[in-house]
């Protein structure tokens, strides 16, 4: 029997053709355009308001970036859900799976190649947002803070964690649309709800991916406070309610996101590896 091709060589092949597949779809172009339009719109509004107003509202460049990037988390979630939502479901639903999974390639190799391709495509989209933010901060403040690099690193970590969750749903559901919708709902609504509950009950939501992702902006915030509580009067009898506010330390956010990355990627692999193709 001829020697089988190495896993590494097959991983390169899986990566290259998956990336090519992404680049040829309107989905990728659409996501890129969506992020570019949102970034440009934010910049346009601020240019309209003028340098004086912007720098008065945000005295430091880091603080400005922190607020500029507040939409980035949602953009990463949408990007990750669309890139990862059908990555494995396409095989498990039949059709292309009957071609691909009959090849002498380990499913772990296919998964790794596709994950890397989704990461590269996602990072390319995310960098558009960062390019706009860097241009904006340079224009308004004349410098780009080094902390922006940390933020990019944390955003990349958030992207791969989101992709891991999307890959898991993609291996769980056999339909691409359902896995994309499930990913968006859980990431965009489910996790923020968990974080909000933590805020109301005074429990630091360290178990929420959404909470971990706040490190992307908190690393830029010059007035960073890990935990604060604000008492707000409620009713006429002098009763006040406490509203807690938690922000993750950058390392803490990184650990939360890394934990999600590892655990959901392992779950996605197990589902993809052992699921039968019956459709």
């Amino acid at each position: 029997m001829a020697a089988v091709t190495s896993d590494l060589s097959q991983l390169r092949t899986a990566f290259r053709y998956q990336l090519r597949s992404y680049l040829r779809t309107w989905r990728f172009v659409g996501l890129m355009a969506f992020v570019a339009v949102v970034s440009a719109a934010i910049l346009a509004v601020q240019l309209h308001r003028g340098v004086a107003v912007v720098t008065t509202n945000n005295p430091t460049s880091s603080g400005y970036l922190s607020s500029y990037l507040s939409f980035l988390g949602d953009a990463v979630i949408i990007t990750g859900a669309f890139l990862g939502g059908d990555a494995l479901a396409i095989d498990l639903s039949g059709g292309p799976g009957y071609l691909m999974l009959a090849q002498p390639v380990r499913r772990s190799t296919l998964l790794a190649g596709r994950f890397l391709a989704a990461t590269v495509a996602g990072v390319a989209i995310g960098l558009v947002y960062y390019a706009f933010s860097a241009a904006a901060v340079q224009y308004f403040y004349g410098n780009v803070p080094v902390a922006l690099l940390y933020s990019i690193g944390l955003a990349a970590l958030f992207l791969v964690a989101v992709l891991a969750v999307a890959f898991f749903f993609s291996s769980f559901f056999r339909t691409a649309v359902i896995s994309i919708v499930a990913s968006i709902l859980i990431l965009l609504i489910g996790f923020p709800l968990v974080t909000a509950v933590g805020t109301l009950t005074g429990t630091e939501p360290w178990f929420s991916l959404d909470y971990g992702s706040q490190a992307i902006t908190s690393v830029l915030n010059p007035n960073f406070v890990h935990e604060s509580v604000m008492h707000t009067p409620a009713g006429r009898r002098g009763i006040s309610i406490a509203i807690y506010n938690f922000s993750p330390y950058p390392w803490e956010g990184a650990v939360i996101m890394a934990a999600y990355l590892v655990s959901f990627l392992v779950l996605a692999y197990l589902m993809y590896r052992y699921k039968e193709v019956k459709g």
Partner: protein
């Protein structure tokens, strides 16, 4: 030498037993027809051999390797066409062929040369078109080309000509005959008994998950006496003349030049009918093998005892 072997292969879906202790072993080149009605367990068997499903019991071995425990090595020299495989819609036909070729460790030159060869032989559509924009038949030919690209020694085919037009069927049939002659081992399920007769040397009959009979097409003929014949004449023939031939019990016209004759099944009568037909008109063909399979198929499915206790030949 290529081998495929099922060892008490069993698959249950909840309370339904789709495949029940199927065992067979085939070695060397040749084509095996896998016959049975819908739901008999044919596709389940092929899915177990390609690791799409996991067996409840038993094992599926290709070239001595259990495809479940080591699918990468087990499927290394295998080309399969199970259910309806499709290329990824956003890749072009050329990308699809290159990707599969690279997975199999082929060099760029090998991929290019073989792509050109199969583009001609299988009449592939334009290779730079996205496969999502191709017709079903075109996609199926692309998939077939990917299957052949690595020149696998074992081919597992699930109704390979299903959904194809007559011209496409001829292309595939000729290709399979050539592959068989090149010493490949082909296991193909089909409902088209004429096709199986033309391509396969051996057949396996399966029903309700159980293998009923496996033997060579020749032996099936002697085991199940032929009682029908297909005759084709060069020109139109009056069916009454055929009815009057000694030994002919019934005549069923298929076309003005083709007839299906029923008789008692003895060799003497068959010989007499051939002589009689030659007096009636110029005989172009006089065949019984497809009918043999059809008869055997129908009798086995209906529980003919001749299908039980037959030796498993490989």
């Amino acid at each position: 030498m290529p081998t495929i072997e099922a060892v008490e292969l069993t698959k249950r879906f909840s309370s339904v037993t789709a495949l029940d202790q199927a065992s067979f072993r085939y070695e060397g080149g040749g084509a095996i027809g896998y016959l049975g009605p819908n739901g008999a367990g044919k596709t389940t068997t092929l899915k177990l051999f390609t690791a799409f499903l996991r067996p409840t019991r038993g094992s599926a071995l290709i070239n001595g390797v259990d495809v479940q425990s080591d699918p990468k090595t087990g499927l290394w020299e295998v080309g399969s066409l199970v259910e309806t495989p499709e290329p990824y819609p956003s890749l072009t036909a050329r990308d699809t062929l290159s990707m599969i070729g690279e997975f199999h460790g082929l060099s760029r030159e090998q991929i290019r040369d073989r792509t050109d060869r199969y583009a001609q032989e299988l009449e592939l559509p334009p290779l730079d078109r996205k496969t999502g924009k191709l017709s079903k038949g075109q996609k199926q030919r692309i998939v077939l080309a990917t299957l052949l690209l690595a020149e696998p020694k074992v081919l597992l085919l699930d109704e390979p000509t299903s959904g194809l037009d007559p011209a496409e069927r001829v292309i595939i049939r000729n290709l399979l005959v050539r592959l068989k002659q090149e010493n490949r081992l082909i296991l193909m399920s089909s409902h088209l008994l004429q096709e199986v007769t033309e391509i396969c040397d051996r057949v396996i009959f399966i029903n309700q998950g159980r293998i009923l009979l496996q033997d060579t097409v020749e032996n099936i003929g002697s085991r199940f006496r032929v009682t029908r014949l297909d005759v084709e004449f060069a020109g139109s023939v009056d069916s009454h003349l055929l009815s009057a031939l000694p030994g002919v019990a019934q005549v069923q016209p298929v076309s003005p030049t083709r007839f299906r004759l029923s008789f008692d099944g003895s060799e003497e009568t068959r010989g007499a009918i051939l002589e009689g037909c030659q007096r009636v008109g110029r005989v172009l063909s006089f065949s019984s093998s497809a009918l043999t399979l059809e008869d055997a198929y129908m009798r086995l499915i209906q529980g003919d005892p001749r299908g039980r206790g037959m030796p498993s030949s490989g």
